[in-house]
């Protein structure tokens, strides 16, 4: 099976543009929408990587759940309007060159290293995934449920209005 690299370039360009847009928008709601777009595009990357299950989960978790959570939080709070510096930290100018240089250097090093990669796609079928997730990694999976429990508890603890007793 021979894939053309063109779809990858299109999708990854979309990912990067949406990511930058997300950071750039002053209006939070636009940022959130860019984020949704970005996550959708990433789901596309997963499909290219032969990981449909992950792509599906990506759509469900990021595009649906987390984005809605973020949008709710945005709507629960009021936001100010103003010039650029009200939204961007002044140090962002200082950090930019560092991030760019480090990003380029690390990208170059990590993306030119000689990995011992195979020629064919290796991601297993979904049944195998299920076996891995619920058998081999059953213990961390259970612990993950505790992580989510703590998160729910934390959200309630911090955000819920106190019942007067």
């Amino acid at each position: 099976m021979e894939f053309s690299p063109i779809p990858f370039y299109i999708v990854s360009a979309l990912v990067i543009i949406c990511a930058i847009a997300m950071i750039y928008f002053k209006e939070l709601i636009y940022s959130a929408l860019s984020m949704v777009a970005c996550f959708m595009a990433i789901a596309g990357i997963y499909i290219l990587l032969n990981a449909e299950l992950v792509a599906g989960a990506q759509v469900l978790i990021y595009v649906a759940a987390i984005s809605i959570l973020v949008i709710f939080a945005i709507m629960l709070t009021r936001h100010r309007k103003g010039d650029f510096w009200l939204f961007f930290h002044r140090q962002s100018v200082v950090t930019l060159p560092f991030v760019v240089v480090a990003g380029i250097v690390l990208t170059v090093v990590l993306a030119t290293a000689a990995y011992d990669s195979s020629e064919e796609a290796l991601n297993p079928p979904d049944e195998e995934m299920a076996r891995l997730l619920f058998q081999d990694y059953s213990f961390p999976f259970e612990v993950l449920s505790l992580v989510l429990l703590v998160a729910i508890m934390g959200a309630i603890l911090l955000a819920m209005r106190e019942r007067r007793r």
């Binding site: 990995y115 011992d116 081999d136 213990f139 961390p140 612990v143 992580v147 429990l149 603890l157």
Partner: protein, 486 residues
């Protein structure tokens, strides 16, 4: 199956109790919640027993997600003792601030569970999940007094910096997994030793990992969050946060750096040396200029991390078990003396309108002779004055460093502990030798048996580990010899 259940029995006890606490908490009247801490303590005590009874067992379970051995037993018991002390210190303080909720104890139990999972993990994914369980619970503990701006600030800062660091760690783990195709510590180690991994990418992954660990243990330059978080968090929570996560992180750090990256010490040794020197320098000097005691203790705990990293250097250089055993023992001692020092601040905050500043320590020696006396003990132990436990721990640790051929590092370590004497001593001087300009205002009914018991445990720990340290030192040596197979 049965063995697997035995392996996670202590964790199950804690989680089960935490859920019970969460369920019955809303049903209880405000005054009836006192007993909840004892429920948690009971769970910890039974967990200690169940850990103790399987101490001779050695096996891995859940498809090599976790392993049970002496090393894990050592850390589990230590973490459980820390959790018990944390719950004992908290009860009255929370009640006085109107935040006595079952959630707090549940969070402590979850944090402890996360740390125990970390200590037992021999797999990147298990480690990661355990780490995040610990991390999320600690963010919430730091921000537990949600009506106090400082507490929220602490929670927020901890959350933002902690997530940033978790990402470094995750990035490093992703690459380690990617290049070796495995998530198991030993398998990764084998592949790396086989030399089939591109060197530069491996180095980046390792340094990302070092940075992530550096954050979790509060080593410079990844330490800035620590003083702010300890200062802002509720004082009993700060005691727990300054001790527990460090123990849990070091438990994994030692495993990762010996089992997985033992052959790559050439890459991580220099960064760790640099970090340990910077950490000792920043911890000791910045503690010197603090007027807020919680903040001072925060910087002092950073300095102690610097010493602990010296132990990492020692075992990284020689590969012998001396350095690891020294770290284990030091952590045990550190747990008692730091919990104790914070505990005295809790005591004072309960009994008076105490704002944690150094000036308010004036005259404490006269008004609260017992609290002042044990605070003196903890300060002496933190300084490393014999015959307290802090002395034995430091001696053992520095001896391991000299043994590894890093005499100059040991000299630096001793030098910084001399510097640290300045600010620990100052607390004693203020307590006994200065008379207050204004007396602290008393709070009625601020005394608590729970708190006194917690302080008693810490005091006993510092004294016993100072006078009779050999059982714990042998346990530590036994533990690391098992995990290393030396």
């Amino acid at each position: 199956m049965q063995r697997e259940l035995i392996a996670v029995m202590p964790e199950l006890m804690l989680v089960g109790t935490a859920i019970i606490i969460l369920l019955i908490d809303p049903m209880l009247p405000a005054t009836g919640r006192r007993g909840l801490s004892w429920l948690g303590i009971f769970a910890c005590v039974t967990a200690i027993f169940s850990t103790w009874f399987v101490r001779a067992e050695e096996y891995s379970s859940f498809s090599s997600a976790i392993a049970i051995d002496r090393y894990v037993v050592f850390f589990k018991i230590l973490l459980l003792v820390v959790a018990i002390m944390a719950m004992l210190l908290s009860e009255k303080h929370l009640a006085l601030r109107g935040r006595l909720l079952g959630d707090y104890y549940a969070l402590i139990l979850f944090t402890t569970t996360g740390m125990m999972v970390m200590a037992a993990s021999i797999d990147l994914i298990t480690f990661f999940v355990g780490l995040e369980l610990m991390a999320l619970s600690t963010y919430l503990l730091a921000g537990f007094f949600r009506y106090e701006e400082r507490s929220i600030e602490a929670g927020l800062k901890y959350f933002v910096t902690g997530s940033f660091a978790s990402l470094f760690l995750l990035f490093g783990m992703a690459w380690l997994y990617g290049m070796t195709g495995s998530t198991n510590f030993e398998e990764i180690g084998d592949v790396i030793r086989a030399g089939a991994v591109p060197g530069d990418a491996l180095a980046i992954a390792i340094i990302m990992l070092v940075a992530g660990f550096g954050f979790k243990v509060a080593a410079a330059p990844f330490h800035n969050w620590a003083p702010d978080v300890y200062q802002g968090a509720p004082t009993p929570a700060a005691a727990f946060l300054a001790v527990g996560p460090k123990i849990g992180s070091f438990a994994v750090l030692i495993k990762v750096f010996t089992i997985m990256l033992g052959g790559e010490s050439g890459t991580w040794l220099m960064p760790v040396i640099a970090m340990s020197i910077a950490t000792m320098l920043i911890g000791a000097t910045l503690a010197l200029v603090q007027r807020d005691l919680k903040r001072m203790l925060g910087y002092s705990s950073i300095a102690h991390v610097g010493y602990l990293l010296l132990g990492v250097v020692a075992f990284g250089e020689t590969g012998s078990s001396f350095g690891q055993a020294a770290i284990l023992f030091y952590l045990a001692v550190y747990a008692f003396m730091n919990m104790g020092a914070f505990g005295v601040l809790v005591y004072l905050a309960n009994r008076t309108r105490f704002g944690d500043s150094l000036d308010e320590m004036m005259g404490v020696g006269r008004r609260f002779p017992a609290a002042a006396a044990i605070m003196t003990l903890f300060m002496l132990s933190l300084t490393g004055i014999p015959p307290t436990a802090g002395f034995v721990a430091k001696f053992y640790l520095f001896a391991s460093v000299v043994d590894a051929g890093f005499a100059w590092l040991a000299v630096l370590g001793v030098l910084f502990s001399v510097v640290s004497a300045f600010f620990y001593l100052r607390v004693i001087v203020y307590m006994y030798m200065r008379d207050p300009e204004a007396e602290l205002q008393g709070v009625p009914a601020g005394s608590s048996w729970d708190l006194n018991l917690g302080l008693g445990i810490a005091t006993a720990g510092v004294i016993l580990l100072g006078i009779l340290p050999s059982p714990v030192i042998s346990a530590a040596q036994d533990a690391v010899v098992r995990v290393l197979g030396i």
